[in-house]
Symmetry: C2
Subunit: 349 residues, 2 copies
DNA sequence: GTGAAAGCGCTAACAA
DNA sequence: TTGTTAGCGCTTTCAC
């Protein structure tokens, strides 16, 4: 059995209260008592119980972090950012991975409440529109500081750190249009998701602003996996034609699309233009000088944690929502292609 | 204030014990009481306190997970594997990221002890040989089920899930030698680390077995970052010559090396052979058909969690150590190059 | 500067 | 099947 505070008190010849004061660095303790207590602590290798403390203070040091896909680099970087800030504040991170699964999410939320967490940082599972309405109730019932990351909940307005994806798509699309593109494919993920909808809007708005009609079949709908983007791109190449430009709506979708392009040896930017999301190590490594929207996940995590901590401390200022504006990193892959790859014939590998 | 068990008892007109029984699914409760309790729970939105339960049971449901670099895909996948298994067992994951920093690691360990965790899964910080000795004491003093992942501690023998990196390097190097290579550069990370040492041994043993003397300057020592591998490769190319083959000892080192090769437009496998670690999405995407050692991080995480749970349950079988044997994924990049890039002149970009 | 004692919310042994 | 009660280890008031 681990040593308890009374073991220390007995050993040091003082009361429980004094030991507690030493542990909590209360100034009102004589140096002599303090010394005695400290050496007893060392001797018995005493480590206070988070449970006893939590119970008696009726408060925890835990924040909950719920992500939908921990092995996605975006989220592991978000966690990195959160964890570094939380650490500095003496808050500990209880982590849950939902795998985009609503039941898992609900279970995680429940468990976190058992831990009486101080606050919650969550990227909610998406794709179930029915469920979206329940979030609002659920979150409000929890009566807990909550910060969302990257995904807002439909028809609601929770505090959080978001990225203006609509603006990003608008910017990307406009840039391409300015470069002479009209035939622009969009790897659009699952269009039932808010994520996708906002971005598609941005894409369409840019066309509208330029007074051009986009080809509806250029919006390649599927899900958010690499595989889906890969298949859709391949299908487009084999059965239709190759547009002059591709847009990857997320890093996963970009990867799938790039994979297909590479498989057919379609060169960027000589044969097609490409603009994606997120700077990935692989781009640099391969000298793929892609023009990109930069989305700094670590920073988003840090900001989310900062926001949460402010809320925990009641420092809820006017701005409890960060909406990060997209910046384009221009590297040339937006240019109108020199050659038209449609003159070649493509057959399944 | 959250509702407590006594609120429920009062509301349901039963005793605390009965409520507790219902919560813990004890069978010895009449249907009638059960119903009453359950509806009271629902009505008051009662959620038991993990602290009170932990204190009274003197036990937690938490396992600690300590990784040195959460944004490294290897570790986020390990966490993915751990978390999926832990979840199924009703264990919650308290996560710490040490950033390869010993102080942070010590702090994490301390906090985890405050939570009276059931067990610990850790990839210890490396690089400080002095400190390595302390681990043994520290871990043994904690008297806690501990499972290491990927890194063992020097001169010790902790349970864990390891990968036989020495065998991997032996296999890689032998394969290259069989293909006619003699001039093989090894991106070796920091040779003070156990990780690096074992692998260098494998490399050297393969040469010895083939009765060839390796060039000492082909062991490129630095640290484990992409940048370090990039600089070392670049330096080798500019100041010495280009070997016929490169080996990346970790995925990070491979990336740095590939980046430099790509910068000089040195083609794989036409001009140099390359063998790396870990299948990364980028390889597929870019049709870099690299021959690789496969290291399944998610699986290592799952195995680690399985091992830990067995230890927690006292099912410590004979094998509390997994040493995964490397498998080579052969894709052609091991071949002896067709052209000799040394005939070109290389200048800094 | 120090100590006694009540209480945090729950479990579990015991009694009924 | 149910209830009573004594803790679990700590914090915190209050009195000294």
């Amino acid at each position: 059995m681990a040593a308890t505070i009374s073991d220390i008190a007995r050993k040091a010849g003082v009361s429980l209260a004094t030991v507690s004061r030493v542990i909590n660095k209360s100034p009102a303790v004589s140096d002599k008592s303090k010394k005695k207590v400290e050496s007893a602590i060392k001797e018995l290798n005493y480590i206070p119980s988070a449970y006893a403390r939590g119970l008696s203070r009726n408060q925890s040091n835990i924040i909950g972090v719920i992500v939908p896909e921990i092995s996605n680099p975006f989220f592991s970087e978000v966690i990195d950012g959160i964890s570094s800030v939380a650490d500095r504040q003496g808050l500990n991170v209880l982590l849950f991975n939902t795998d985009e699964n609503i039941e898992k999410e609900a279970r995680a939320m429940r468990i976190l409440q058992e831990y009486r967490i101080r606050g919650l940082i969550i990227t909610p599972v998406t794709g179930n529109n029915e469920y979206d309405k329940k979030y609002v109730e659920m979150f409000e019932n929890m009566n807990l500081p909550i910060v969302l990351v990257d995904r807002n909940i439909k028809n609601s307005n929770f505090d959080g750190v978001y990225f203006d994806d609509k603006a990003a798509l608008y910017k990307i699309t406009s840039l391409l249009i300015e470069n002479g593109h009209k035939d622009i494919a969009l790897l659009a993920g699952n269009p039932n998701h808010v994520i996708a909808q906002k971005r598609i809007e941005g894409y369409q708005d840019a066309f509208e602003a330029a007074d051009i009609k986009p080809y509806p079949q250029n919006i390649l709908a599927g899900d958010f996996t690499i595989e889906s983007a890969y298949q859709l791109t391949k299908h487009l190449i084999l059965t239709h034609r190759i547009p002059t430009a591709f847009i990857g709506m997320t890093n996963m979708l970009s990867m799938g699309c790039l994979k297909a392009l590479s498989e057919f040896n379609i060169a960027i930017p000589e044969e097609v233009a490409f603009i994606g999301y997120d700077r990935l190590a692989m781009h640099d490594i391969l000298h793929l000088n892609l023009t990109l929207v930069e989305k700094d996940a670590v920073d988003m995590g840090r900001k989310a944690a900062g926001l949460l901590i402010d809320k925990i401390n009641g420092k809820s200022t006017s701005s409890n929502r960060f909406i990060l504006m997209p910046e384009l990193l221009m590297r040339g892959s937006e240019k109108y292609p020199l050659r038209n790859p449609n003159e070649r014939t493509f057959t399944e590998k």
